[in-house]
Each structure stands twice: as structure tokens, then as C-alpha cells.
């Protein structure tokens, strides 16, 4: 083995990635090669220097911008869930991609009854069956509704995963330009945040017909956005 070949193994030696025989052979070489010995010492210093680097915060406070995006107060006021009206106003401003005309079967299944159970599943390991609320439920029995929602939830999760995968492929292949990706990412963040907020609001008011419908609408919008984005990606090739 030439000296260069030994040199190329020095990092692996430092990291303990060499086998016993290789390590012994390299140590024997280094013992007789002042150049490799010097390089090894320098590589050790590089590693030590890297591990001594401290993390530094950003020069400007990013929290106000983050707080604005996620819909919480950035200071001075009590934090918590932002009013529904404020969330809706923000969503209208930042959700710029129009809805698709065609809806998949899973979208049709995302009714208010399903959304209600979404909340229950999201907040409790064993979903309590909802008490009857006038005008808020379908005529289906609770067991039938729960089984139906489990299927809908599974379809929703699969659809979202597949569409996100297609979108990621579009990103990686470069079929989506960076400006488009940023708009899509921002829209998805907004919708995801709205879903989280809706579920949290429903946790406080599980009987709210409006919030149930709002959650279903928001989930539907996410699917529609993903469907549109994943369809758009290959069209650019």
C-alpha cells in the first residue's frame, strides 16, 4: 500500500472504523512514516476543533415571525389558541392555490361526522362515543360511524402520504421550481396549522358543528392542494 493509500485511511482510523488487522497495519505504517504521523495529528486537531465549536443564536429574534405564522401572540398578551375568525382570515390570505373541481372519494367521505370522530381519535387513545347533539350527527349508529370513520381516516392518511411522496419526487427531480415549492410549502404549513388549531379548538368544544365542519373542510383542502401539486409536478417535464 502506498503512503497516499495509508493517508486515505487515517480518518477511518480516527473514527474507529477499521478492523483489527487494518488498524494494526496502519499503526505500523504511521510509526515509520513521519508524514502520516503529522497528518494524523492534524486530523485529530480538526475533529477536536469541530467539536469545540459553540452554537450561536441568530442575530435577530425570529420568534415574532414564527409566532405570526403559527397564529400565537409574540409577546405581551396571553398566548393560546387564536380566535377562529383570525385563523380563517389568515387562511384566506395565505391559501392561494384554488380548489380542484374534482373530488376523490376520500374527500366525499370527509363529512362532519367523520371530522367529529377525527377529534375524538386525535385526543384520546380510545375514542369516546359522542353524545347525541341535535342536528349535528347523521342518522348512523355510533359503531357504524366509528368503523366508517376508521376507514375514511385510513384512506385519508394513505392519500396524503402518496401525494406528499409524489410532491417530494417533484421537488427532488427539479420539476417544481423553488418559488413554486415555497408557495406550496407555505400553503401546506398554513393548512397543517389550521388542522392542528381546529383539533385543539374541538378539544375544548367537541360538540361544535361548525368546528367539525371546519376541520373536515380543512382536511379536504389539504388533500386538494396536494392533489393539485402532485399533478402539476410531472407536467413540467
Amino acid at each position: 500500500m502506498t503512503r497516499d493509500q495509508w493517508t486515505d485511511r487515517l480518518s477511518e482510523y480516527l473514527d474507529g472504523d477499521l478492523g483489527i488487522a487494518e488498524r494494526a497495519a496502519l499503526e505500523a505504517h504511521v510509526a515509520s512514516c513521519p508524514a502520516c504521523e503529522a497528518i494524523l495529528a492534524e486530523l485529530r486537531r480538526v475533529v477536536a476543533r469541530a467539536q469545540a465549536i459553540d452554537d450561536q443564536p441568530p442575530t435577530t429574534d425570529l420568534w415574532p415571525a414564527i409566532a405570526q405564522q403559527i397564529g400565537v401572540s409574540s409577546g405581551g398578551e396571553p398566548h393560546g389558541v387564536v380566535s377562529l375568525a383570525a385563523r380563517r382570515a389568515r387562511r384566506r390570505l395565505s391559501f392561494t392555490v384554488p380548489q380542484l373541481a374534482a373530488a376523490a372519494a376520500v374527500l366525499l367521505l370527509l363529512g362532519s361526522g367523520g371530522a367529529y370522530l377525527t377529534l375524538q381519535r386525535g385526543t384520546s387513545p380510545v375514542p369516546p362515543l359522542p353524545a347525541p347533539i341535535a342536528g349535528a350527527r347523521t342518522g348512523r349508529g355510533p359503531t357504524t360511524t366509528l368503523v366508517g370513520w376508521e376507514k375514511t381516516r385510513a384512506k385519508y392518511d394513505v392519500a396524503v402520504a402518496e401525494l406528499e411522496s409524489a410532491l417530494e419526487q417533484g421537488r427532488k427531480s427539479g420539476r417544481l421550481d423553488s418559488a413554486t415549492v415555497r408557495v406550496l410549502d407555505q400553503s401546506l404549513v398554513t393548512i397543517d396549522s389550521a388542522i392542528v388549531q381546529a383539533r385543539r379548538a374541538l378539544a375544548a368544544d367537541p360538540g361544535s358543528v361548525y368546528l367539525n365542519q371546519h376541520l373536515a373542510d380543512t382536511m379536504r383542502r389539504k388533500l386538494e392542494l396536494l392533489r393539485r401539486a402532485s399533478a402539476f409536478a410531472p407536467a413540467r417535464t
Partner: protein, 194 residues
């Protein structure tokens, strides 16, 4: 001649593990934030922003580090419901940050020519001038490494990931990760303070 024990590159500390007591407070903050408490989430932000921002700065550059850091915390807020507590919150956040950074660098179109394997890599960063120019310090030298070498070096030597993990994150084979790391170290040794 006796050499010191190999394996010194392994991080001896776990930067994601909060101190005892602080860990309980952080666990409580994670639970509060997951239930919609913005103030608790702000505390998590304050505790972890330096690490996330430093990672972004080293991996993708100073210019977009602020923007990427914001993205990381916005996504963390929306995904808190998926945090199971199986690892430290810092570990979960760090992996999320890496995913966001890697997606961003891809969208920036910087993936081409990322993994150089030739000797020319060593020439990509000018060596420390012999005379009186101390402006290029060690961290600047890291920032001027070729993208692939810089990412592997940061993830391995600063963040403590193993080659197999890095290879999975970056979509390369472990051998490439090892090679890039060695190239990075060989370049950076020229920029050590003497």
C-alpha cells in the same frame, strides 16, 4: 510507537439531552405546546433556536439560515402531535431540521456536483495564507467547503451522526460519506491555527 486509541471523533456528549430537571420542564413544555400553548412553544424555541440556526447556517449558508430556521419551528408546531416522546425533543427537532434543510437545498437546485471525490476538492478552499491574513478562520473554512463535503463534515464531526445515518439522509452510500469526510478534514487541517 504507541498511538492513542482510535474513535476520538465520536461525540462524548449528547447535545439533545437536557439537564436533569430541565428535562422535566421541557417535557411539560412539549405537552403544553402540543395542546396549543404558544408561550410553552416559545420556551422550546428559545431553548433550541441556537442549535437549529447553527445547523442551518453550517449546512446551507448564512443567507437562508433565518428563513430555514423559521420553517423548522413552524413545521415543529404543526407536527408536535406526532412527537411520541420516544427520543428527546431536541433529537426529534434536530431530525426535523435536517429534513427541512435537505429539502430546501434540493429546491435551491444545489444538488448538482455535490459529491466530488477527486483531489481537486482539496483545492476548492484556499489554504490559509502564510502571511498575516487571519480573516479565514476555521468556521469560515467549513462554510467554503464543497456542499457534499461540508454536509458530511457537519453531520459527522459537529452533530455526531454515523456514516450509515448520514448516507441515509443524503441518499449516498456510507463509503461516499467516509470519503467526503476525509476530504473535508484534509482540507480543514490547512486552516487550523498554528
Amino acid at each position: 510507537m504507541e498511538l492513542t486509541t482510535p474513535g476520538v471523533a465520536t461525540l462524548s456528549r449528547d447535545p439533545d439531552e437536557p439537564a436533569r430537571g430541565a428535562g422535566d420542564a421541557e417535557t411539560a413544555d412539549v405537552a403544553l405546546a402540543a395542546s396549543g400553548d404558544g408561550r410553552a412553544f416559545e420556551r422550546l424555541y428559545r431553548a433550541h433556536v441556537a442549535r437549529v440556526h447553527s445547523l442551518a447556517r453550517r449546512m446551507i449558508g448564512f443567507d437562508v439560515a433565518d428563513d430555514v430556521t423559521q420553517d423548522v419551528f413552524v413545521r415543529a408546531w404543526t407536527k408536535l402531535g406526532t412527537f411520541r416522546g420516544e427520543a428527546a425533543f431536541g433529537t426529534w427537532l434536530h431530525r426535523l431540521a435536517i429534513n427541512v434543510i435537505l429539502a430546501r437545498r434540493t429546491s435551491l437546485g444545489t444538488e448538482r456536483g455535490r459529491y466530488h471525490d477527486g483531489a481537486d476538492v482539496l483545492d476548492a478552499v484556499p489554504s490559509r495564507p502564510v502571511v498575516n491574513d487571519l480573516s479565514l478562520d476555521f468556521q469560515e473554512a467549513i462554510g467554503r467547503l464543497p456542499d457534499g463535503a461540508r454536509e458530511v463534515f457537519v453531520l459527522h464531526d459537529l452533530e455526531g451522526y454515523k456514516h450509515e445515518e448520514i448516507a441515509s439522509m443524503l441518499g449516498i452510500v456510507p463509503g461516499t460519506s467516509k470519503s467526503q469526510l476525509h476530504h473535508a478534514r484534509m482540507t480543514l487541517r490547512k486552516h487550523l491555527d498554528r
